[in-house]
Symmetry: C2
């Protein structure tokens, strides 16, 4: 495994792999503080690619002024161990100066997909994501790029960017990885107190319950799904709901009020963001609702 | 020479050239209705590249609602003759449906370099330029891309986009090509009546006169340069000045009022846009002012 810290070194390392015929190139962009979710991305990349590149960069552009850029957890030594163990060939760890030698005047932005969900709570966040991922794609020029579905909106937005800009890369969305008790893995889970960690289980539980209620036919509309999720989460006294939304996926269009979940004719997403203390957690389920035979 | 009309055909044609070792790839993006200026870009591309790709696409995204998108001159047969004669290997002529199968939600924009000059007169124009050139660069993945300095602001903006987004392409700026009488070549010159065509010579004449006055020491500040140009152009009764600006290049920062032209410490641009009837023409000079020894 080779660790590079400049764009020039990265391009040289990649050129060497390409010259040796070690293609396709798979790319896993991360903000580091790696966990089993990132490991699953590396493993998937390894299955599909001859060269696996991982980047570790906490991108200031995608943090709001009152967000946790400075305190975002970092542990390079542990990250490199995990990357090596999971088969990364090249790890790119640029500093902020290397990524932004001067403040960028160029912004890549995706409209309308970025106004709801986390885009509403975090203005400018997705412009920061699309701009830095665009840069990274131009540096790595990968054949595949791997992202976790925990950030499902990010997947939808990046797919749209790649399609609109004719970027020559395929976005591969990978399933959410969870702890045994259901909590979706996140680098930010480290912020949680024991009490918050325990109460945060309502997120995955609420998603499981709504799926079960749909199976049983007791929930069939978007409104009913939202209400059930809100009632489950509200049982946790520390939970402060930011949003609970039911949308088409990956178009992220709201379902009309009262319309049946299976009326969208394709995949839908049930997405939520909830604060526990200072920590904002997200979780979601993307799935295709079954045809339900009306019981008249 | 191969003519392709879809992104898929373009990528296949390029893959074939790359497999055959015909690199580097040089790219000349145009809006067609080719003239000797475009021919000079193709020749320069031929000198620097093993494969020369030209695109012809009148991009609706960079025209304002009251601009000349519908009437912009087109002549594909003549364009293909010129491209063949000047050594293009691949000509890409996509339709609007091929470039924008659905309305783009992704915009690439460069701030601050786009607020003055043509950016002020044509709001949204440069977002359209950067977005379509970004797409074309992603399709062609050229080593070099060739642009005429007549659109000097476009060159400055695209250089910044390439640098900010780490695109792996070098922007090669080529000199303005002029008629024998000095008129800068433009596809839009075809709109001019004989009388307008004749009076439009004040543009290049004003730029020559200001350069001569600088040589002679009668003009030494940005204000003096602007005043001289405005007085020369105003002698033409049909000329309606849009702007006359003196800025640093490629930073496009205004020179402080009264400051000497050689105080910028690098290249400057004298740029102008003038309407003759319905036709808006632009012209400019990019140069490094000489050190002038003060005659005290």
């Amino acid at each position: 495994m080779r660790v590079v810290r400049t764009v020039k070194q990265l391009r040289e390392a990649l050129e060497y792999m390409r010259m040796g015929g070690h293609t396709p190139i798979g790319f896993v962009p991360t903000m580091g503080y790696l966990h089993e979710g990132h490991a699953s991305l590396l493993r998937r990349a390894g299955e599909m690619s001859s060269t696996v590149v991982m980047s570790i960069f906490v991108n200031p552009l995608q943090f709001g002024p009152n967000e946790d850029f400075a305190s975002y957890p970092r542990d390079e030594a542990r990250d490199l161990e995990l990357a090596e163990r999971e088969g990364a060939d090249i790890v790119f760890i640029p500093g902020v100066e290397e990524m932004y030698p001067e403040p960028t005047r160029t912004t890549v932005s995706v409209s309308s997909l970025t106004t709801q969900l986390c885009g509403a709570s975090r203005p400018g966040h997705f412009d920061g994501v699309t701009t830095v991922v665009n840069k990274l794609f131009n540096m790595v020029q990968p054949d595949y790029a791997f992202f976790g579905l925990k950030d499902a909106q990010q997947v939808a937005v990046l797919r749209r960017m790649v399609s609109d800009l004719n970027m020559n890369v395929e976005i591969v969305a990978c399933p959410i990885v969870r702890e045994d008790d259901g909590l979706a893995l996140s680098s930010r889970n480290v912020y949680l107190s024991a009490e918050e960690r325990s109460q945060a289980l309502v997120l995955s539980r609420s998603l499981r319950e709504v799926r079960q209620a749909m199976e049983e036919g007791t929930v069939s509309t978007a409104d009913e799904a939202r209400e059930l999720i809100i009632s489950v989460i509200s049982a946790s006294p520390l939970a402060v709901i930011d949003y609970v939304e039911v949308l088409t996926f990956p178009g992220l269009e709201p379902l009309a009020a009262g319309s049946r979940l299976n009326s969208a004719g394709g995949e839908i997403i049930i997405a939520l963001a909830v604060k526990f203390g200072k920590t904002r957690l997200i979780d979601n389920n993307v799935f295709t609702p079954k045809e339900v035979h009306a019981l008249v």
